[in-house]
Symmetry: C2
Subunit: 386 residues, 2 copies
């Protein structure tokens, strides 16, 4: 399957999770849109673009089971979370409950906006390895207090690559009267996403990771109850529009000045690509392989899975704690000497190495990773085992 992509042949690409990769047919579709734009920029941007965007919205809304008018496209989840965070009206002392496993850019965003309002971003400590869904939920809600107004949580964590039980979190949060915000950056086309069942108030995800569209294509879903309360993050013509559409949400947030929005328009082609190539079956096989082979990595690093090694917690990402003082140097060595693209990330006071298992990856690539790490353990002092 790697021939379907534009990736370098000489690299063992075990980091699909960071930025995905775009299949050739989707890339061709990207260039097709960009050429169409250049063919008549004014018609494309000011006339036809609205129809194109709506067609992509409809196709994508069907893919994640929501109404297309409840979603807009944004460049990335960071942009989406900034829209939300800017607009959350918190009083002094109120709290946002989150976890210790969130993505650093989001932690920065919440801390920034909470500081402005005198609110507090609570990163409830999650003990690793997670023992069970119940133990996770129990630990998470220990962070709740009567000052909690909002829950923010990743559906799949970044550095630690774990699927969290956000459906249960959202259900309980609703019982407690809280606003729910889910960061699904790693979710679309990675695990099933059904927003009509999940019932988060806000949900964002990247299409340019596991869904494989070009970089800068993501979405923000907002429940209708919250749409009118959102000021634009970037004020433009759509704010107090002279020619408003039927949706203030769309007018305020979809267009913020001139840009090439072709990446959004490739979403239907990416869905078509996945259907044509039986992506659901193929990725199911990836999950099986991951669960079967991950223990080799844990054994080598003298560690264990960060949660029970089942499909409840694992999709196509798997992180292992790795004891190193120089994660950047280790990552660089893996890339330069062994031609392996894999992230080694600090998170809190630990470091993690995370492999992605996409349909073009093979067990022999994982074995090569293990061999390379063994070699590094034997030949350097970059990795400690105790």
């Amino acid at each position: 399957m790697k021939d379907f992509f534009l990736l370098r042949d000489d690299i063992t690409f075990l980091n699909f999770g960071s930025f995905g990769a775009t299949p050739k047919v989707v890339f061709d579709d990207y260039v097709k849109w960009q050429l169409l734009l250049e063919n008549e920029p004014v018609q494309f941007i000011t006339v036809d673009g609205y129809r194109y965007i709506n067609e992509a919205r409809i196709a994508f809304a069907d893919f994640i089971s929501c109404h297309h008018e409840n979603l807009i496209f944004v460049p990335n989840p960071t942009h989406a979370i900034n829209i939300i965070a800017k607009n959350l009206k918190l009083n002094k002392g109120e709290e946002i409950l989150s976890t210790s496993l969130e993505y650093g850019a989001m932690d920065r965003t919440w801390n920034y906006y909470c500081e402005k309002q005198g609110a507090t971003y609570i990163q409830q400590k999650i003990s690793l390895p997670i023992q069970s869904k119940e133990s996770f939920l129990n630990e998470f809600w220990q962070g709740y207090s009567e000052k909690t107004k909002v829950v923010f949580i990743s559906q799949i964590t970044s550095s630690t690559g774990l699927i969290l039980p956000v459906k249960e979190i959202c259900e309980e949060a609703k019982k407690r009267g809280l606003t729910t915000i889910v960061d699904g950056a790693h979710v679309p086309a990675h695990i099933d996403l059904n927003l009509s069942e999940l019932k988060a108030d806000f949900y964002t995800g990247a299409c340019h990771k596991w869904m494989m569209t070009p970089k800068g294509s993501s979405f923000l879903y907002v429940h209708p109850d919250y749409q009118k309360a959102l000021d634009p993050l970037i004020v433009s013509w759509g704010y107090k529009s002279a020619a408003p559409s039927n949706s203030q949400f769309f007018d305020y947030h979809q267009f913020n000045g001139t840009r090439d929005f072709s990446a959004y328009l490739t979403i239907p082609k990416a869905i078509e690509f996945m259907e044509k190539h039986n992506w659901k079956e193929k990725t199911e096989e990836c999950r099986n392989q991951l669960i079967e082979n991950a223990p080799k990595l844990f054994n080598l690093l003298n560690t264990q899975a960060l949660a029970p090694l089942t499909k409840e917690f694992f999709g196509q990402l798997c992180s292992a704690e790795i004891k190193t003082n120089e994660p950047e140097k280790l990552q660089r060595l893996l890339f330069e000497k062994y031609k392996i693209e894999i992230p080694v990330m600090r998170h809190g006071d630990k470091c993690y190495i995370r492999f992605s298992f996409q349909v073009f990856n093979t067990v022999s690539e994982l074995d090569y990773l293990i061999d390379s790490l063994s070699d590094i353990i034997q030949s350097t002092d970059l990795i400690k085992l105790h």
Copy 2:
């Protein structure tokens, strides 16, 4: 020259001003960067991208005569003005002095942020036609009061297509102790821009208009005195970065989550294209043709130039007041029946038709516009002459 672009053959394209158009060689460069990104997304985005961005900054800084560390790339001037407006700390009652000729998205932005702070956005009425530079400056400064703290002004106006004397405005503003913000959306590669002489505190411009790079490539220049005071518009990893560069300005504003930043990287190629094709000489000829031929349009519409018809006020844009109650319908008719792409825009209580004269445009195209408008005058009641 039109063959150098990707524009439709069957359209008389008199609206270069809105979104420019990209030469084939620059478009090819765009796709080259996008392919390079897809070849190894992680290396491109997290390693090499910094070097690529800096190379583009250095080339562009040379083009507009500033230090490259004082500029960042942004998708569009709207984004840039939002960064500034969000961060201007105005007290209740303080004023931003601007003109009645500004771009609607910017008016909305200033009104939005002023309202939040209890400040006032003063759109000083500029009488049209402008009689002289002196009369303009005199009228502009009538909007000044002791509450004025900031000046915001376009170097080339949008609907009315006029070059304004911003150098003189900035000089006088400095004498009065005001912060100066210049919207040069239409400026780069349209008229000469030398930021070391202009001495604005903030300057933004689009590269995707007259400089012809792909859509979504613009810049924000900030004088070093102001850089540290700017919070990010979109908080991400660069805010309180774990690995800061030598510039907080760069860290806070250049990267805001994953996106395809290839459009920025084509700037050196666009500069090379202009040099290779003697763009300065060719566009000088455009300005001559515009000044020689614009009176035909004014005569037909029974109006006059919006300022003295000289290169002091006119570049490659020329607007004429057009009396119509249905500007959108008129614009649509010109496109659909006559295959002319030209904007007909409301601004305040007037409407303007604006033609662009780019190097591939010809006098016979302007004559065709005149003939088409004559035909519309005779066959419909869309245009009034008195």
